[in-house]
Amino acid sequence: MIIAERKPIEEILGLLSKHQKVLVLGCGGCVTVCLAGGEKEVGILSSQLTMARSKEERPLEIVQKTIERQCDFEYFEGIRHIVKDVDAILSLACGIGIQTCAEAFPDKIVWPGVNTKFLGVNLNVGEWAERCQACGQCVLDKTGGICPVARCSKSIFNGPCGGSQDGKCEVSPDTDCAWALIHDRLTRLGEVDSLREILPVKDWSYSRDGGPRKLVREDLELESGK
């Protein structure tokens, strides 16, 4: 799940400053689940923006809409007629959705309304934590199902480093030391000796470091042998 958080309102007001009519566009995917950009947030943000602009005596007209997912082009088809009439779109989708939206409406200004934070898990209502960095080559088999790339502050492969104390990371007492978690879990599973093996340097070319990634599965493409 992608975890996002609404941008500070001043920033959004700044982005919208020159517009009179905008579409606040929610997404029914991850950002609804993480309470950042679903229909309810669209409503609250719209009300907040309306009030803020009314206070400045520069009224802002807002059209509200939430579509199934903003990371698929097809879902934008149904809102073309709405988009036509607005100055700009404020997208509350994650970074993927915002870009898809911009691509779907090449002639329309699309502003980001949220900051996309990380790929994570919902620990409780109002509490999320990072779990994956999409590094492209999963090592969870070697680390007891706990990811050192995403959860160790230094992303080291042969931890824990010397800053691990009482199961916490040197960076903050609120952060669990991923390697302490790995060590404890493997100990519980009776597999702790596997940590004696030195994990080799990672091939980061599968990660973002190899350049923007793209996945093509020819066996699934509609027209094969393109």
Partner: protein, 560 residues
Amino acid sequence: MENNTRIGVFFCSCNGKITEKVDYEQITSEIKKLPQVEYVRDSQNLCAHLEGELICKEITKNQLNRIVVVGCARSKEEGFFKEVLRKAGINPHLLSMVNLLEECCSVHGKSARSAAKAMEMAKMGVARAGKLEEISFGEYSVNRTVLVLGGGLAGMEAALQAAARGHKVILAEKEDKLGGRLARVNSIIGVDRNPAELLDEKVKAVTSNPSIEVRTGTRLGDLDGNIGNYTAWLVKGDTETPVDIGAIVVATGVQTIFCPVKYGLGIADNVIGQMKLERLLADGKDFTGKNISLVIGKTTEEFNLSFVIAVKNALLLRKRFDATVNVFYTNIKVAGDNWEKMYTEARDAGVNFFKFDEGIEITANNGEILINYEDPFIRGKIPGPFTVTSDYIVLPEELVPADGTEDLAKVLRIDLGPASFFSIDNAHILPEMTSRDGIYLVGSCQSPGFVNDIQISARVVAEEIFRKLYADQVSVELTQPYVDAAKCVVCLTCYRCCPHGAITIEHGEQYDNLYKSAAQMNPMVCRKCGICAAECPGKAIQLPDYTDDQVLAQLEAMEV
């Protein structure tokens, strides 16, 4: 129905109480102009019986399908008008009531401002009426079997009460025989019965009842589902068997821990707990002429049970053996039916009561016991400490929940309350209820209690179970929130927020969204608080009678 909404607005002057402050003429003429309002009428006293019939007729005649009553809105009146709607053949939830009497006339003077408010309130009522929705009933198949956990007196009593109301009962006891703590006491507070006899009688009644199936050596391992449709996994030895049940009564009771260390004492033959004393008395030990001291006040102060037990036994020792009985106390908590009387009786019978605070020192060996104490009332006037020598010292035990209470709470998905006993629901509703419908508490598992309370609460619980599961097929008014599956992203927010465990995620083709799933509220469990609706990030949840549309329409109709 949206397009042919036909609203009828009925004004009541409440025998002039309203009209003396507010001019209806002005309001009715405005209201008549509102779209969808097809009929307006004002009356002296709308809740008169004849008026009810008249409203009925007007509804039919004018084909009204939404009714606004402007006047008062107490629950009694609401009931009256709902009945009128029912008689007129329209859903009683299509009624919008405006409490002009109490929200305006009674609290404001006659002025332009109060007139404006009256107008606004009427308009809000009409606006809400336009958004009202019908609420129907649903039929639910339920399992009427009751699972009782704990085969002590509370469990047996609950089983008998439920069986008497036609429920099948499975009585699960983790030990290998029924009886619980009753098997270990000499007498029962407030009940003039021999415990052994009473126990025998109850065990016979339970075991001979064809509706009650007793399973000993059995505990609850896991639980799925909700009221009317639970699946409980009963664990006996290494085997786990599922049973389908409709409700659960928890009667796992309390346990006592003898902890003389808290009184600065070690283990000695003449230092005993109340439970041991009960045992000795039941076994016929002779205490004639002995000097016995009972100390209470350093532990388990939060429950009056320990105080009442001490007073009961003090009185018994005094009466039966003519023993010298001293009760050392910091506090005497004997509030409750007859306990105060028993305390007075003990004083009258010659039990000595000594108050102490911090200044008490007890030394015990098997020969004699010395108690040095200071009386805080006479300290300074008659300097202490005083010394009392005793043959026996009796201490209260710690009262703690039965073993496994914490695990059981997790399985039942209910919280633990003060002192780690099971937490009851809001005490005003039904003290035996938990936060989840279909799970009830009887006896000391919620807080150490008395035998004579058990019968009452067992009856109340059995009655409540019967009320909910009165037949194999029950009819439930579907006032629970409904979910627009197209907007539901199955994010689990509602599921996590629901205080009653009423929400499940259901799957099926009928759910028109990407996930073919949606959150669903079980009408038998849901208590209609609307927390889920307010939390839903997709605005997929609406609570009938309080939908967003209805609330926002009222805001919309409001003047600035």
